[in-house]
Symmetry: C2
Subunit: 147 residues, 2 copies
DNA sequence: ACTCTACCGAGACTCATTCCCGATTAGCAA
DNA sequence: TTGCTAATCGGGAATGAGTCTCGGTAGAGT
């Protein structure tokens, strides 16, 4: 699978920029996230691969986030969730957040909306002397499972 | 000020729906939030009025949130922040979240964008069998203070 | 093989948030 | 006003996600 090896290569190269290695534990994290259909919390990650140590998972996800390989999502429950960075999975997307069970699901918005939004947000940021990094557009409600 | 008494009346009535009282401590919380220029964390709330007990503040904010009087915001730092519900302050708005200091600032988006967005999100929710409650549109970056 | 430095992981620790429970107070009615 | 009752209060203990420590391990050279 060239998709996966590209992913690994890109991750390794982003880590190298920070003098960080792409170790087995980090490969495992990236692998689990790549095969997940939705953002995962750390307990979920640990459950999917028993070889992962909790403290290392926290440390490594922080490193991977700094390197821009993964992205942290703060939902409505008490834990944060992780997914691969958008530019590694090739599509910009947003999140459906279930306020009952905390699960997070991806969705994409029409390109037109997305463009208008970007332009508007850029203007807003400028007006407030704010240096915008990215935007978060989430839909909060009840997922099909919890209804 | 009739605005404030309206606010209190509305808060009382929303609490009554849940068989909850609008007590002094709850009035204080609402008052502090009403006079704040930005969403406040619980430490910030406690600092603004020493008469507030920590455990009661947590409990009461949870009750006020259930009653739809206040709204909880999860930012980028380790605590959540609270502000009055939008329909009590009469304008729909979004947040600028500083990833350095955690401060949160309000902003409003152009009505056109907001409408398009709503329509698009409604469609997305329907497609996913998701029962949408509200959307969150936040801009994450560095505030003027931290630059 | 040697060395240097990043990395590992088990467990202790931190601290925002929640829970407990006896004391207090709001609301209501006699 | 005087009870009465259930909601509320608040100080402190408990919980638990996330962080830190530190002795041991393992990559990438040389």
């Amino acid at each position: 699978m060239s998709g996966v090896s590209d992913l690994n290569e890109e991750a390794a190269s982003r880590l190298r920029l920070l003098d960080q290695r792409y170790t087995r534990a980090r490969r495992t994290l990236v692998g689990v996230l790549a095969s997940a259909e939705a953002p995962l919390s750390i307990p979920q990650l640990l459950a999917r691969d028993r070889a992962l140590a909790q403290s290392s998972a926290y440390r490594n996800l922080a490193v991977l986030e700094q390197a821009g390989v993964v992205h942290r999502i703060v939902g409505s429950d008490e834990f944060s969730r992780y997914e691969l960075a958008e530019d590694l999975t090739r599509h910009h997307h947003h999140h459906l957040i279930c306020s009952q069970c905390g699960e997070v699901q991806d969705f994409t918005a029409p390109a037109g909306i997305e463009n208008d939004l970007d332009r508007a947000l850029q203007r807003v940021a400028a007006q407030h002397g704010f240096d915008a990094d990215h935007h978060r557009l989430d839909l909060v409600g009840t997922c099909a499972n919890c209804r």
